[in-house]
């Protein structure tokens, strides 16, 4: 019951602009793999602490300097690279700036973050560098990589896998449930560090 109440309230509390044609989503509308239980209970431990599916976590963080870029803001979901998001997310793009084996980085499978070109240049970050994303409400943290480049000033834009790993719910149209706040930290010069 609590779960239904949480979900049914998402249209009004979405972080995205109003005007969507979508109605109140059912549980079936929610994207696969979301940790609905975490949001309801807020007490479940991070099951993949340190790493999400796809990239995992860096093998050796001892060579990491302090984060070269840090920003806290409302989370926005980037579904780019996830073929299953086509037709649901009006802003969906088949491509991502980063690639894995010549293919776009699938948002549903890899925890990644988005930076602007200026943010990358100013911080010395490159596509592939490691990043850490924290759900500011729950403290859940996941390792990710910089794999997409977005418009100027954008912060808090993360992949579906990244959102799921830190307990953020979202609909298939990429709208988040509520206004979850995340902190993104990027560690420049770490792209060559392999993941576990």
């Amino acid at each position: 019951m609590l779960l239904l109440a949480t979900i049914s309230g998402c249209d009004n509390s979405s972080s995205q602009p109003s005007g969507s044609t979508s109605g109140t989503p059912s549980a079936g509308d929610l994207a696969q793999g979301q940790q609905i239980g975490n949001v309801v209970s807020g007490t479940q431990p991070v099951t993949n602490a340190g790493g999400a599916p796809g990239f995992g976590s860096p093998q050796d963080v001892s060579q990491f300097d302090a984060a070269s870029f840090t920003a806290s803001s409302i989370a926005k979901i980037d579904t780019d690279g996830d073929p299953s998001a086509q037709g649901y997310d009006p802003n969906w793009n088949p491509q991502t700036s980063g690639h894995i084996d010549g293919q776009p980085v699938n948002s549903a499978e890899y925890a990644y973050v988005v930076m602007s070109q200026a943010q990358m240049a100013a911080s010395g970050a490159q596509i592939g560098d490691w990043a850490q994303v924290t759900n500011n409400a729950t403290g859940q943290t996941v390792w990710a990589r910089v794999e997409d480049v977005g418009p100027p000033g954008g912060t808090g834009e993360i992949s579906e896998a990244c959102a799921t790993a830190v307990g953020i719910q979202f609909q298939k149209n990429s709208w988040t449930v509520g206004n979850p706040n995340v902190t993104v930290q990027v560690f420049s010069g770490t792209k060559s560090v392999p993941g576990n």
Binding site: Q16, P17, G19, H99, A122, S123, Q126, G150
Partner: protein, 188 residues
């Protein structure tokens, strides 16, 4: 006859492909005075006439879709727009009494909300692109841009990049911030 047609067709195809990827095929853009060159190859850099590197704007071209560059009329600076699929940024290399430096335009210059308001739209900014237009003089160049908001609502805008003449502050990426600035944003 058939062979000639095939050759013509192949040539046209290659030419078109070349044009489509032209911005990222290796190329050199020489300054008006011929003393320096902007090289787009493994990365983006300014080199002297002997090919020695003077300043590097981008170490690699991973994910970059387009590089747009124009030298100032006095050959003292070159402004470069580096574009990815969903966003672009403006950088510059410039020469002063102490040598060559690089600068970037801050994201905070772009008045997203004000432009959206003027255009009568709203929503989340999901993409942005810009291209260089003409130099007004050796310190100012016009830039044309386009914002894409959620729902694919598009807003076209124009502004001017100026070299402020102010001392910048060096960021961790090695760029001087505050040396170039976007002003005069308006719809087009």
């Amino acid at each position: 006859m058939r062979t000639i047609l095939r050759c013509l067709l192949a040539s046209a195809l290659v030419a078109n492909l070349g044009w489509a990827e032209g911005s990222l095929t290796p190329k050199e853009i020489r300054a008006p005075d011929g003393a320096h060159t902007l090289e787009i190859g493994l990365g983006v850099r300014v080199a002297d006439s002997g090919g020695s590197n003077l300043v590097t704007l981008a170490n690699n071209l991973e994910g970059i879709q387009h590089v747009d560059a124009k030298w100032s009329p006095d050959s003292h600076s070159v402004v470069v727009v580096i574009s990815y699929i969903r966003g672009s940024g403006v950088e510059a290399a410039y020469m002063d009494g102490s040598g060559w430096h690089k600068a970037l335009q801050s994201d905070t210059d772009l008045p997203v909300e004000e432009l959206a308001r003027q255009a009568g739209t709203s929503g989340r900014l999901v993409a942005q692109q810009c291209r260089l237009a003409d130099w007004l003089d050796s310190r100012r160049i016009t830039v044309n841009g386009e914002l894409v908001f959620s729902g694919q609502k598009k807003v076209r805008y124009r502004y001017t990049i100026i070299f402020t003449g102010e001392p910048g502050h060096l960021d961790p990426g090695g760029f001087e911030e505050g040396v170039i600035k976007g002003i005069g944003y308006h719809l087009r």
